[in-house]
Amino acid sequence: MATGVFSASRAKIKERTLRTDRWWVQPAITFGVLFSFIIYATLRAFENANYFAEPLISPFYSPCLSTECVPGSSLMGQPFNFTLFGSAISPALFILIFPLGFRMTCYYYRKAYYRAFWFSPPACAVAEPHEKYTGETRAPLILQNAHRWFFYAGLVFNVILTYDAILAFRNQEKQWGHVSVGTLVLLFSSFMLWMYSLSCHTCRHTIGGRLKHFSKHPIRYRLWTRISILNHSHQQFAWVSLFAVAFADIYVRQVSSGAWTNFYLF
């Protein structure tokens, strides 16, 4: 039976949309970029190599907690032994669960991939192809409500990656007071991750959005107003931080494999 814009009671119009603009461009770009990132991140997670070049470590492999991690890359010890049938499992496969979970449940990315990957809807006022729709009311999409747990985990990762960026102020002999291109790359990556996390809707809610009486909590109210300003740009932070993390990984990989030289400014 016809439903949606083709329901019996609605105006009899045969087109799924009458939009004349190029509404498909934005979801197509989103699909292309996110799909490319997924492919790249998957390949890199399985590669299990070229993720450390003193003093730089790839954000995909930090914190490296496995006994299989290359020497010098495990700043927090090696309490885990990730092996399966005698073969080492890439630590990135465990690490990436948290940042990817944070992005997968992010309110901005939800908009992006529901439109671009699931066509639900592909664009505003463009009829979606699905016959039924239950939204985020049942499994698996009800798990989107776990966003705040990934947000908390993401904060822990931000601290670790910021620490990695600080350690990058050393040279290869572990002497402090040096800055390389890699230092700037890791610093920018961790900074953008902080901006992405702090502008998050869950952060805004936790800081003060959940309150009924702002006047009784003036400090939280002021923080909420600041976070709300950042929240306006959450979409931009989401994309820039994604590119920044991916580029940081590419940079460390190239330096680690010897393809690029990590040039020191001083």
Binding site: A11, L18, A125, A127, G135, A146
Partner: protein, 253 residues
Amino acid sequence: MTRKINLRIWRGDATDGALKNVEVEANEGEVVLDVIHRVQATQMGDLAVRWNCKAGKCGSCSMEINGKPRLACMTQVASFPEGEEITITPLRAFPVIKDLVTDVSFNYRKAMEIPAYEHPKDLAPGAARMEQVDVERSQEFRKCIECFLCQDVCHVIRDHEENKKSFAGPRFFIRIAELDMHPLDLLKNRKQKAQEEHGLGMCNITKCCTEVCPEHIRITDNAIIPMKERVVDVKYDPIRWLGTKIRKREGIV
């Protein structure tokens, strides 16, 4: 300066209808509603169109112009390139009555289902005092002119007629958010009702409601997502729930 424009206007009723071509003059500065009125006056005397204020404040002239839900009185003819045909149809999420007029009574039924504000019993009428910071969030939502463009564009009901039973829609999520953020509202379980009775969980944050709002209310960011987070507080966050039981923290009722 006057120019000729080509319109395609949907004519019909619930049984049948079609897009009809018409050529009409448009003067400089005119909006789509002006040229619809000219068509009505000169070529289609029985063309049905709902309108009232012509100032973007009554929300009556909601329709779809080149496929996008818009107010006809706020859409400049000059915003379309010269020579481009302008297609005008009724809202496609609601039953059509005639031509550009739809039956939006679904929204009034949903409005009645939203639980009203519950005033503290020990506070006399007129005795309530609130500070500006406590009401400014809600003031954004009070700008709503009930044009129902957000309801029309929301794919949950636009593309799934069967969801109308269980989904209130973005216009009423901002109403729920307004009440839930009200410092004095005492109604219990407003968040749970939003999720379980008004279909908040069906929204998948695709932000079309925000895109079409003529009052530029940030419906998704300021109402729907905060409500979703409040629902997480009471339904999906056991630590937060436990904290409220132990410390009786505010905001969770």
